[in-house]
């Protein structure tokens, strides 16, 4: 077994944008993970902020249950503005 657990790395590329998954890496602890993430994923100023999260702390939805899991949204087209009919010529709506 590896003594260095896996960490997932999320990077904010510039202010105003959210953190986005960049990849993963191994490190003995969170602080090392952060320093390694800087060296591996931001050598060319790709980020202004980094999050590292233990991969074991992430719970992911299962691809096998994809259909059932996301099914409740499938029949609610009225949640989209294009569902509604607007008379010709009405603006700013």
């Amino acid at each position: 077994m590896s003594r260095e657990p896996l960490w997932e790395v999320f990077i904010r590329s510039r202010r105003g944008l959210s953190h986005v998954h960049a990849g993963s890496l191994h490190a003995a602890d969170a602080e090392m993970a952060l320093r390694n993430a800087r060296d591996v994923y931001t050598r060319r100023q790709e980020g202004v902020s980094i999050w590292v999260v233990p991969a074991s702390a992430i719970l992911a939805s299962s691809p096998e249950e994809k259909d059932a899991f996301f099914d409740p949204a499938a029949d609610k087209v009225y949640r989209h503005p294009t569902f509604y009919e607007i008379p010709e010529g009405v603006e700013h709506l």
Partner: protein
């Protein structure tokens, strides 16, 4: 089915994102199924491939697809980190501080590329430590190109221009590989490789416009690296048994010969701009084909190098193993520190 003459080591070789064997060596890709038939392939997987969608780590996938990817990505990662050695050899002897800083950045990039790729391989359920074990014990290979020595400073230029140039041609199509994590890693790698290729070109351009001795040094490096660079694309299509399956799975997008031709077409005008010649008198523009003709590559040498008989195979591997062993105390210290911090925190939490 291919006859297996060599049973000891699996000598399937990734060459910077390619995947092929020396003839007579054990084929590890699943034997090709009859055309059109895809037994054992989950319907969701087939549908993804047909719609040009990306396969993600937790999706259902055939075991052969998973194994092929693990092998190819791992060997690609190994190539990146072994590739640090021929260039690392010149860091302390770079001709100026500028060249030295650039070379250090490039070698650091290669380490980074290795890490992106090991991380991509791990999404397929393997452990990086196991992959390194397989490299160190010779069960997995790395690109044969790194078994050639860097005899002069011009070789650093030739590696950047030709070897990284060939790698880019091989790797750009991998940015559209059907396996998401591999494709994403390749996007990062390709962005960084173009700096590598340009710095190599610049080194050769400077030398070829310098003294006669410097120009001769540049020419000598190109003469030695040209044929090995062409071999990086793998054997001709007819002798590349794994290619068809990899194409069907969307791992590979173009044939070895097509990629090699693309590289030659790109490189010939660049050589002219450098004022250097490529060591093949048959190179000539073929109006009808719209490509440069060239002498067919003699692959005898490639297969010898794959089998372990290249100039630097032993040196590269023993250096890698030594570096890994020398670094053991750092890994142990980091783990001990992490354990101590965790124990201290849980003690404080309990108090």
């Amino acid at each position: 089915m291919m006859l297996t003459f060599v049973t000891s080591a699996v000598t399937v070789v990734d060459v910077y994102g390619n995947d092929f064997t020396a003839p007579g060596d054990e084929p590890t890709a699943p034997s090709a199924s009859p055309a059109g038939a895809r037994p054992e392939e989950p319907a969701s997987f087939v549908a993804l491939l047909e719609s040009e969608g990306r396969v993600e780590p937790r999706d259902e996938m055939p075991e052969g697809y998973r194994k092929t990817l693990v092998r190819q990505i791992a060997q690609h990662a190994h190539s990146e980190i072994i590739g640090m050695q021929p260039e690392g050899n010149w860091i302390s002897r770079a001709p100026s501080l500028r060249r030295k800083a650039i070379l250090m950045a490039k070698v650091q990039d290669e380490a980074g590329h290795g890490l992106y790729l090991y991380a991509a391989a791990e999404t397929l359920g393997v452990d990086r430590a196991d992959l390194l074990d397989q490299l160190h014990s010779g069960r997995q290979k790395y690109s044969s190109i790194f078994n050639y020595p860097t005899l002069t400073w011009a070789d650093v230029g030739a590696i950047g221009w030709l070897v990284d140039g060939a790698a880019i041609v091989n790797q750009v199509p991998l940015c559209r590989c059907s396996y998401g994590p591999y494709a994403r890693a390749m996007v990062r790698v390709c962005k960084e490789e173009s700096f590598h290729q340009r710095q190599g070109f610049e080194i050769l351009h400077t030398l070829s416009h310098g003294s006669d001795a410097q120009k001769a040094m540049a020419q000598d490096a190109v003469d030695r690296y040209w044929w090995p660079s062409l071999m990086m694309f793998g054997p001709p299509d007819d002798d590349s048994p794994n290619s068809a399956q990899s194409m069907a799975w969307g791992i590979k997008r173009f044939s070895n010969d097509d990629l090699r031709q693309r590289f030659i077409d790109m490189t010939v005008p660049q050589a002219e701009a450098l004022g250097l010649t490529l060591p093949d008198t048959a190179i000539a523009w073929n109006e009808e084909r719209g490509h440069y003709d060239h002498t067919p590559v003699d692959f005898t040498e490639l297969f010898e190098v794959i089998r372990g008989n290249g100039p630097c195979n032993e040196q590269r591997l023993s250096h890698r193993v030594k570096a890994h062993e020398d670094g053991a105390w750092v890994r142990e210290a980091a783990a001990a520190y992490a354990d101590k911090q965790a124990a201290r925190q849980s003690h404080e939490g309990a108090a």
